[in-house]
Amino acid sequence: MSHSADAPLAVAEHPHDPLVAEQFEDLDQQHQAGTLGMWTFLATEVLFFGGMICGYVIYRHLYFEAWHQGSVVVDSFAFLGISAGGWNTAVLLTSSLTVALAVRAAQLGQHRVLVWMLILTMILGVGFLAIKASEYTHEYHEGVVPGWGFFNPDEHIRHDLEHAADQSGINPDLLHRQFQLFWCFYFFMTGTHALHMIIGLGLFTYLLVQALRHRFTPVKHAPVEIIGLYWHFVDLVWIFLFPLLYLIR
């Protein structure tokens, strides 16, 4: 923003700290505003995911049998006896730890620790996305990706569905359709979450670049805290998605 002729007066009144943006009086106000801004944004994200989760929960109540079958299939993809979802949860929770450690390092001015924690967080984030990608591939091969002309579940899944239809007395065709609806929700919810993770990785790339340039000090490290908040939120969404999608019995 250019300075008007009035600026010399204003500047003389109030010499401006170069670290502080022009609209703020001091660093503290800037930090508080940024933090409140991020919390407000996270509130909007709660409503965003909340809409989908609300729909999912309503359908779980209405179509319990189909949801149960869906959850069984989702949870069936496992490495070393732990489901992919379980691994994802472990990875994300650890990444929240590394984020918290990064914030602490920034507050204490520990430059090397900060950089390593940021790198570790990003590796864990990429790890999460890799596990998710392998899950999606697996689900594609099982034929449960929804869509006209797409949805074609494998033999063993069909068999389980028919069995469930017999047991519960639901019309098999209806159960099949409800089952597809489950998969719509699964891909929408995890897909949106993954998109937010990718955005988060982009933000962390920015943080890493800034950290490598020694831009963060114990006095000025607000971006690390604020973006850390965002990452914690994305983790929190997963904490909701995991039981809802994987653990329904």
Binding site: M1, D6, Q23, G37, T44
Partner: protein, 552 residues
């Protein structure tokens, strides 16, 4: 107040308007005042497009079985009218123009909390508008602004996705504006400005921002699901896949009802400012007016299913939502009573902004009362999806929100541009608007009660007389909108110069020059007592900015 002659360049006062002149200094500005002007231009264009759709609709409805427009095209026209007017004019209108301009000034700040986010918000809005306008040019979509499934998600053969995405993008513009206002009001008030010293406009903007931030994401996810359903053939709302079309209605109205409060709350804030300043009186019941804004925002989240009384919700659900809808009228009524009490024994000046404010109060009361009519379950069975509903919401949105917007633009025009518009023409335009508006929409109450459904391109001949009256009114209304456009633009070049406070109004925005410098204030002020008219010195009673205006 002498007119400021053109001084040599180095002596002219520096304002946000002459800071720099290049197009890039506008398109890359971070000044909230310039962004407000950019928004004003954009929403005026959007209003014109929505208005043209309305003109065609009213022309079609002049005769019962008109051949002017085909059925499908008619559907596209009312969709375009609704989408452009709701999402691309009314929702942004006061918040992004008057809000962006005034919020920092009124609280004594130099800018909003996040100026770059503010600029990005405008760009998102422009992109969203362009997407919808592009959609209309490419053939349009015909789902109605409400996008009901399964028509929008499965059966419509027109360009629905592009329109949905345009609204989706504009939604993020809203969210960022709301976020900016919330953080600004919390963290950037000048020294001494406690919450109970905030101008009432700020209270309204704050309540509006709460709704913007919490409701809009639900619209975003709902529309995203419809778009995904159309593109990939998956189905959350498709019964063939076990989905539920009524779920769409619940999710859609969960946003769209609070959205109507987004549209009216800022208008109420403007009216509070107009009434107090033109009556030179401290607002009666400041605390009640302030908290009623919050009450409207909160209760407004709990009434959405009153749009669905005939959609198949349970009778008990209907009863609950009917009761909530009655309750949400209470804080609105509190405001009307307080404005009336402020008017009583005030020193009233019948200026253009005052006429708009009075028009608002009367028309909003009619709109609000007919809303209660609709909230009553039995009555709603009869008039749901008829012209009664259309008349009701146009009384609030046009008679209320647009009137308040125009009143606010007139009131703050000297502050924003440094120019005075001719008040005589202003009053003429206000009268024409009031006349045209009532002639357009009052017959529609009758039409609806007699049974004419909405969104129909033809009707039984016995309804013709009311339709003709309505179309005649629309032509007068159109003239009422064109007039201000003309004289306001005229005043930019030929209007008299305004000094700091031509209205002798209270408020920090009037303590700086007209137009303000880029940094708003030479020195950050200390918060004054709000609306301190009892102790104010009125400088303009002899030197009338508006000839012939006397304060009683």
């Amino acid at each position: 107040m002498a007119s400021i002659a053109y001084l040599p360049e180095y002596d002219r006062p520096h304002t946000y308007l002459n800071d720099r002149y290049s197009i890039w200094s506008w398109l890359l500005t971070r000044d909230h005042k310039r962004i407000a002007i950019l928004y004003m231009i954009t929403i005026t264009l959007n209003f014109a497009i929505g208005g043209m759709a309305a003109v065609l609709i009213r022309l079609q409805l002049l005769t019962p079985h008109s051949d002017l427009i085909e059925a499908d095209t008619y559907n596209k026209l009312f969709t375009t009218h609704g989408v452009m007017m709701v999402f691309f004019f009314l929702v942004p209108s006061i918040p992004t123009t008057l809000g962006n301009f005034l919020v920092p000034l009124m609280i004594g700040a130099r800018d909003l909390a996040f100026p770059k986010l503010n600029l990005m918000s405008w760009y998102l809005f422009v992109i969203g508008s362009a997407m919808v306008i592009g959609d209309v040019v490419a053939g349009g979509f015909d789902t109605g602004w409400t996008f009901y499934t399964p028509y929008s998600s499965t059966f419509s053969n027109y360009h629905v996705v592009l329109g949905i995405l345009g609204v989706f993008v504009a939604g993020f513009s809203s969210i960022l504006t709301g976020l900016n206002f919330i953080v600004t009001v919390h963290k950037m008030r000048c020294p001494g400005m406690t919450w109970m010293k905030l101008p009432l406009f700020i209270w309204s903007m704050y309540a509006t921002s709460l709704i913007l931030v919490l409701a809009t994401p639900v619209l975003a996810i709902t529309l995203a699901l419809v778009a995904l359903e159309r593109i990939f053939g998956v189905g959350i709302f498709d019964p063939r896949l076990g989905g539920d079309p009524i779920l769409f209605q619940h999710m859609f109205w969960f946003y769209s009802h609070p959205a109507v409060y987004i549209m009216i709350l800022p208008g109420m804030g403007v009216v509070s400012e107009l009434v107090t300043s033109q009556c030179r009186k401290h607002p009666f019941g400041y605390g009640f007016i302030a908290f009623s804004s919050l009450a409207i925002a909160i209760i407004g989240f709990g009434v959405w299913a009153h749009h669905m009384f005939v959609a198949g919700i349970s009778m008990y659900g209907g009863i609950v939502f009917s009761l909530m809808s009655f309750m949400v009228a209470i804080p609105s009524a509190i405001k009307v009573f307080n404005w009336t009490a402020t008017l009583y024994k005030g020193s009233v000046a019948m200026t253009t902004p005052m006429l708009y404010a009075l028009g608002f109060i009367g028309l909003f009361v009619i709109g609000g009362l007919t809303g209660l009519w609709l909230a009553a379950l039995g009555l709603d069975m009869h008039v749901h999806d008829t012209y009664f509903v259309i008349a009701h919401f146009h009384y609030i949105m046009v008679g209320g929100a647009v009137t308040a917007y125009l009143g606010g633009v007139h009131f703050w025009w000297p502050k924003m541009t440094g120019k005075l518009y001719p008040d005589g023409w202003g009053k003429i335009a206000a009268f024409i608007l009031f006349l045209g508006f009532n002639l357009t929409f009052f017959p529609q109450f009758i039409l609806g009660y007699l049974g004419m459904p909405r969104r129909y391109y033809a009707y039984p001949p016995e309804f013709q007389v009311y339709n003709v009256l309505s179309t005649a009114g629309a032509s007068i209304l159109a003239f009422g909108y064109l007039l201000p456009l003309c004289y306001l633009l005229w005043s930019l070049k030929y209007g008299a110069d305004a000094d700091d406070n031509p209205h002798d109004a209270a408020g920090l925005e009037w303590q700086t020059s007209s137009p303000p410098p880029t940094h708003n204030f030479h020195t950050i002020p200390h918060a004054p007592e709000p609306y301190d008219y009892a102790n104010m010195e009125f400088l303009h009673d002899d030197i009338r900015p508006y000839p012939g205006v006397k304060h009683t």
